[in-house]
């Protein structure tokens, strides 16, 4: 019966209810999109790293942070040393250059890359034909609206698109290693060394052996470790705290919207509260009605927020498919609902207590 009364109350003022649901839904969308963005971008980075075909990656001695954009510090000749190690089937040097964040151009030697992953899978075009060619993946091609043969502006200079590849193959943008080294004034230097082994089961043995020879000065990761290091590194840079702040904002907005909406509702329904009291409705009953209505608005806001997060994903992936990847993280749906309902419950306290403490006679006389 109370549920019916609450639903009828919500239906009675559809515009107020819809606006409340919309306003509650906005922070839900923010939270889900932010979480989806962090998951999507980390998964994309991990997928691309695995798509290199390598088993081990190694950085220069002064670059410990996995996400750092420090310049190339490894001598390219170091690859010969790495290639001679037992179980190492192929070694590839990569130089990176950050452009419009979070995008990075990877300079590669395609001959080396072919040995690593068996060759790039082209959707259109093919390998570099000249020093000013780039290979881009389909996401970057979509983002920049470019086809094979088009000219693209990267690092303040024009490049010709020689090929378009599917996603998940090391990078969104590949350029010739030599060209990028010259542009970065790092001739003969690389940022990363990727190693492919004869058998992935030898990964730990090779890492241990390399560490024994090189000491701890060179960060060396298996590709599995790289993924977890990547997540740890992102979290260390304050992502969890940032999400926490957004959650806090979500709770505050949910609280404020519900408080305002329910307070207005209680004022508008003063006479009805008097009627319920004249029928023997207790303070707890009145409080329950207000609270249930707030929870229903919160649930509606959560559902709308989830729906809008799909819209946000579509918008982001249409406008910036290479720069940003958004995943729908289902496990966050109940969390977002709990956050919203907590805000809504808090927001219902004052209007609920106010309604429950109305004097029945005054409420019945309310016009």
């Amino acid at each position: 019966m109370i549920a019916k009364l609450v639903v009828e109350n919500i239906k009675h003022k559809p515009m107020r209810s819809l606006l409340s649901i919309l306003l509650i839904g906005v922070p839900v969308t923010l939270i889900l999109t932010l979480v989806g963005l962090s998951h999507g971008m980390l998964d994309d980075a991990e997928r691309r790293a695995r798509g290199s075909g390598a088993d081990i990656m190694l950085r220069g001695s002064n670059a410990t942070a996995i996400l750092s954009s420090s310049s190339a510090t490894l001598p390219e000749k170091f690859l010969d040393f790495l290639a001679r190690q037992p179980h190492v089937k192929a070694a590839m040097g990569v130089i990176t250059h950050a452009i419009e964040l979070p995008l990075v151009v990877n300079g590669v030697d395609l001959a080396q890359f072919d040995k690593m992953n068996g060759g790039l899978q082209y959707l259109a075009g093919g390998p570099f034909q000249g020093p000013d060619d780039v290979i881009i993946d389909r996401y970057y091609a979509q983002q920049k609206k470019k086809r094979v043969g088009d000219t693209i502006e990267i690092m303040n200079r024009p490049w010709r698109v020689s090929g378009i590849v599917d996603g998940g193959q090391l990078a969104h943008i590949l350029a010739p290693l030599k060209t990028l080294q010259e542009l970065d004034a790092a001739t003969g230097k690389i940022t990363f060394a990727y190693l492919k082994l004869d058998d992935p089961a030898n990964t730990q043995a090779v890492i241990d052996d390399l560490k024994k020879q090189l000491g701890d000065s060179y960060p060396i990761w298996s590709m599995e470790d790289f993924a977890s290091q990547l997540r740890e590194s992102v979290n260390r840079q304050g992502l969890d705290e940032f999400i926490g702040v957004i959650i806090g904002i979500g709770v505050v907005i949910g609280f404020a919207v519900v408080c305002l909406s329910m307070y207005m509702s209680v004022l508008q329904r003063t006479r009805e509260i008097g009627i319920l009291k004249s029928l023997g409705g207790s303070k707890i009953l009145i409080l329950r009605i207000v609270w249930m209505e707030a929870l229903l608005l919160g649930l509606g806001g959560t559902a709308l927020g989830i729906l809008m997060s799909y819209g946000a994903r579509l918008a982001i992936e249409t406008l910036r498919p290479a720069s940003f990847q958004v995943e729908i993280v289902y496990i966050w749906w109940p969390l977002a609902a709990a956050i919203t309902l907590a805000g809504a419950s808090l927001g219902a306290v004052y209007p609920g207590l106010s309604a429950a403490s109305h004097d029945a006679i005054e409420a019945l006389a309310y016009e």
Partner: protein, 227 residues
């Protein structure tokens, strides 16, 4: 259950405080109402009729004096106790009908049963009451789709659905035309005669007061005559 009066009031006083000013609304009221009686209360505005109703109905506590309603001493009841009194022992009918506007007539009646903890479906005998009130075919309409007379009959049905010991009607015909007023008054008399429902009715109208067995005249917070 006692065989004495269902309402027994002695030396009832009620003082409202408006800021620092004390406004006496009742200045020593004595009143007995027997079970099954239909009593009309008349008097000019400000005579204390409504305050008397609110106290008998448990909407506000007395300042002093003794008030026993359905064997319960209202002066000793807490707010929760008075809430329970309204759930089961008192039914209100108001001049402005006071139906919940978002619910259908059926749900307005059901909500009273829900609050009283007696389920939401009225007992089968109540169908007969609905027919008597001539609202059995209007139950699925919301108040806005009902005439004033129909709304007041729904309000009466809601007030008696839990078989209260007392029905308090505050100017039940105040917002109705002559025809609907007569219909509502006859319904109240029918309920009193057929179901032995105890009824207290406030009215300004001498013709309406004539429907009761007795008429209590009030002035300046006192009962000045009982006829």
């Amino acid at each position: 259950m006692s065989s004495g009066p269902i309402i027994e009031i002695r030396g009832l006083r009620k003082i409202y405080r408006v800021g620092k000013v004390e406004v006496p609304a009742l200045r020593g009221v004595d009143l007995d109402v027997d079970r099954g009686e239909f009593v009309a209360i008349v008097g000019p505005s400000g005579s204390g009729k409504s305050t008397l109703f609110h106290i008998i109905g448990g909407l506000t506590p007395p300042t002093s004096g003794s008030v026993r309603v359905a064997d319960q001493d209202l002066a000793a009841l807490t707010d929760g106790g008075r809430t329970n009194l309204r759930k089961r022992n008192v039914g209100f009918v108001f001049q402005k009908f006071n139906l919940l506007p978002n619910l259908t007539a059926r749900d307005n009646i059901a909500v009273a049963r829900y609050i009283a903890g007696t389920g939401t479906q009225p007992d089968p005998q109540f169908e007969e009451v609905l027919r008597l009130l001539k609202i059995d075919d209007r139950l699925d309409h919301k108040p806005s789709a009902l005439s004033g007379g129909e709304q007041q009959r729904i309000a009466i049905a809601r007030a008696i659905v839990n078989h209260p010991a007392i029905l308090l009607a505050d100017e039940p015909t105040g917002n109705l035309d002559t025809e609907n007023s007569k219909a509502v008054l006859e319904i109240l008399r029918d309920l009193n005669e057929r179901l032995a429902q105890t009824i207290l009715m406030i009215t300004h109208n001498p013709e309406a007061a004539a429907y009761g067995h007795h008429t209590v005249h009030m002035r300046d917070g006192r009962i000045i005559e009982r006829t």
